[in-house]
Symmetry: C2
Subunit: 329 residues, 2 copies
DNA sequence: TTGTATGCGTTATCAG
DNA sequence: CTGATAACGCATACAA
C-alpha cells in the first residue's frame, strides 16, 4: 500500500509538503506542486480516507438516516433515489457516507445516539422521513452536536437546515388542476399520517384551495396506507366529486376502490412514483425529484460544515400525468 | 468526547488494558474486567471505529457495489432490499459498510479501483449485478486483493464466494408449474441480457423442462426490457401456448401486449417484485428474498475474513402467485 | 516556501 | 496478568 510517506520520499520532499499540495494549501511553489503531482500520478496514490478523518478535525463524514417504517416496498424507489442522489453528491464534495436505518437506533437515548454517531466520526446527518413522534431525534437536532439537514420537516436552527419542496403549494397546485379539469364541487381529501410534517402542510394546501374555490372539503386520515385509502374511498367518495390523496399509493388504493364501486371520480396523487404508470388509468400527481432533493441536502450540509447557519431550502416540483407509455423502457 | 484514555484514567488502569477488556483478550482478570466495564458504562464510552480500523490490521470494512444501470426504477425495490439486508447483518457482525455505485468507478483501471477501495480501508466487497462484460471487476476478483462475495455470478476462488438462488432450477420450477397448469405445448421464452450470468442459467432451466416435456421452445433476448418483451410478444406469441419471461418486468410487458392483442396466453415471471401485484392479472413467478440473499452474502464475507476459502452458496427460492390482495397494506 | 514534530484514538508487541 | 510504547496514515502548528 503506497502511503503519503512513499510519495514524499519518491518526490524528495517532506510528508507535510505532500499533504499541503494535496489539500491545496496556498504557500507551495508551482515547481514542487508539479513534482508531487507527478509522483502521485505515477504511484497511483490515493490518500487513506480513514487516516485523514482520524487526523483532521474538519467535517467530512455524513450519515444518511432513513426510515423504513412503511412495510410497502412500492416506495423503495423513493429511498433508493435519496440514497443514490446523496452518495453521488458526496463523492463530488469528497465526503464519506454511511447509511443508517432508524430501526438500528430507535431505542437509543440521546446520549447513546450521540455516542453512536460520534464513534463513527460522523459530523453531519441527513434525516429522511422524520415524524413529530421521534422525540430523541428532535433532541439530537436541538443539541447542536452535529450539523443536520432534515428533509421534509421544518427544523431550522444554527446547526440545522431543512430541505424539501413546498408541500402546501404542491398540494394546492395538483388539486387545483384536477378540480378545474373536472369542474368539481366537493372534495374527499385523504391525508397521510397525523404525525408527519408533510401531512399538515398538504392539508393547508387543500384547505386554501377549497376556500378559494368555495369547495366542500372532507378530510380523512389514511396513514399513507393503500388499504385505508381504499376503505375511506368506499365509505365516503360516493357523494363527493373528486378524491385528492396525499400520496400516490393512497391514490392507487382510492382508484381501485372507485373501479370496484363502478363509479368515476377524478383522483390525484402525490410523489410521482413509477408505480403510477402501471395501474392502468392516468392521474395527476406531483412529481418530486428525490435524487435532487437529497443531492441538495448534501450540498446544504456542506454549507453548514463551512460555518454558515441553518436555513430553509425550497426545491421545485412539477405536475405530471403518469401513464404506461411514459415509463416503459 | 470520551476516549479510551479517559476510561483508563478513571478506572486506574492502562490504556492497553482497557483495549484488551473491550476486545475480549484472554489474559485479563475478572476483577479488572468488571472495573473497566463499570467505567465504560458510566462514561457511556463507545470506541472510535475510525481509529480502530486505522490501527487494527483485521478486516472489518466492506463495500456494497451496486449497479444502477437499468433506467427503470421499478426494480429499486430489489436494490433497497439488498442494501438493507446487508447493512443489518453488518451491524450484527460489527462491520462498517459503505455503498458504492458502479457508475462511480466504471472508468477506472484495475490499479485505480484497487487504490480506491484500499484508500477507504476496505477489506471486503459484495458485488451485485455483475455482468460478463465488466472486465476490470473480473480482474479485481482474480487479483485476490480483497475478499469478495459475488451475488448471482459463478465466481469462486480462494478469496471469492458466490451467493444466490439456483436460477436453473427456479426457472425450471416456475415454468413447469405454468406449463402443467395450462397444458401447454410450445413456449416463447423471453430471456434477459446475453451478458448476464443469470440469463444463461435460466435458459438452461427452460431448456431442460422443454426436453423433459417435449415442448417446442423459442428463445428471444429481451434484455430485461419491458418494452422489448412487449415487442417480442407481439411478434411471436400468437402461435405459442405460453410466454415464460426471465424477469417480472418483462412478464408485465408481455402480459400487457397479450391484453392488447386480445389473446390469452399464460405468462410467468421471475423475481417476485411487489409491482407484480399492481398489474391486474395474476401470474406465477419466482420469489427471491433479496434481503436474505445479501444478508447471507455478508455472512459469507465473514467466513472469508476468517481465512476460510471461497465456495458457492445456494439459497432457497419459492414459487408464488402475486395478486393485489396480497400486497396492499 | 519547506521541513520537523506532535497528535488523532486505537491496536498490538513487548517487557515487566 | 498488566503497562509502556510503537505503529496506523495523515494533518497541522510551528520552526527553520
Amino acid at each position: 500500500m503506497v502511503s503519503i510517506k512513499d510519495v514524499a520520499k519518491e518526490a524528495g520532499v517532506a510528508i507535510s509538503t505532500v499533504s499541503k499540495v494535496l489539500n491545496n494549501y496556498p504557500n507551495v511553489s508551482e515547481e514542487t506542486k508539479k513534482k508531487v503531482y507527478e509522483v502521485v500520478d505515477r504511484l497511483n496514490f490515493v490518500p487513506n480516507a480513514v487516516a485523514a478523518t482520524l487526523s483532521s478535525k474538519k467535517a467530512g463524514r455524513v450519515a444518511l438516516l432513513i426510515s423504513l417504517n412503511n412495510k410497502t416496498q412500492a416506495i423503495d424507489e423513493i429511498h433508493m433515489q435519496y440514497i443514490s442522489g446523496a452518495i453521488q453528491k458526496a463523492q463530488e464534495l469528497q465526503y464519506d457516507v454511511i447509511t443508517v436505518f432508524t430501526s438500528m437506533i430507535e431505542n437509543m437515548s440521546l446520549e447513546e445516539m450521540t455516542r453512536y454517531f460520534a464513534a463513527q466520526s460522523i459530523s453531519g446527518i441527513i434525516i429522511f422521513g422524520l415524524t413529530t413522534k421521534n422525540k430523541v431525534i428532535h433532541k439530537l437536532i436541538e443539541s447542536g452536536t452535529f450539523k443536520i439537514v432534515v428533509v421534509d420537516a421544518p427544523m431550522v436552527n444554527e446547526t440545522t437546515s431543512s430541505v424539501g419542496v413546498d408541500h402546501t403549494k404542491a398540494q394546492y397546485d395538483v388539486a387545483k388542476k384536477t378540480v378545474v379539469e373536472n369542474k368539481c364541487k366537493s372534495i374527499l381529501y385523504i391525508a397521510g399520517r397525523d404525525d408527519g410534517y408533510v401531512t399538515k402542510w398538504r392539508i393547508d394546501g387543500i384547505k386554501k384551495l377549497c376556500e378559494e374555490k368555495k369547495l366542500k372539503l372532507m378530510i380523512k386520515y389514511g396513514d399513507f396506507s393503500e388499504l385505508k385509502a381504499r376503505n375511506i374511498t368506499m365509505k365516503y367518495a360516493k357523494n363527493k366529486s373528486a378524491v385528492v390523496c396525499a400520496s400516490d399509493l393512497m391514490a392507487i388504493g382510492a382508484m381501485k376502490a372507485l373501479t370496484e364501486m363502478d363509479i368515476f371520480r377524478p383522483v390525484c396523487g402525490f410523489d410521482g412514483i413509477i408505480l403510477m404508470g402501471y395501474v392502468g388509468k392516468q392521474m395527476n400527481t406531483v412529481k418530486q425529484d428525490f435524487a435532487n432533493v437529497s443531492s441538495n441536502a448534501m450540498e446544504e450540509l456542506g454549507r453548514l460544515f463551512n460555518g454558515e447557519s441553518g436555513r430553509n431550502v425550497v426545491l421545485p416540483h412539477t405536475l405530471v400525468r403518469m401513464k404506461y407509455e411514459d415509463i416503459i423502457c
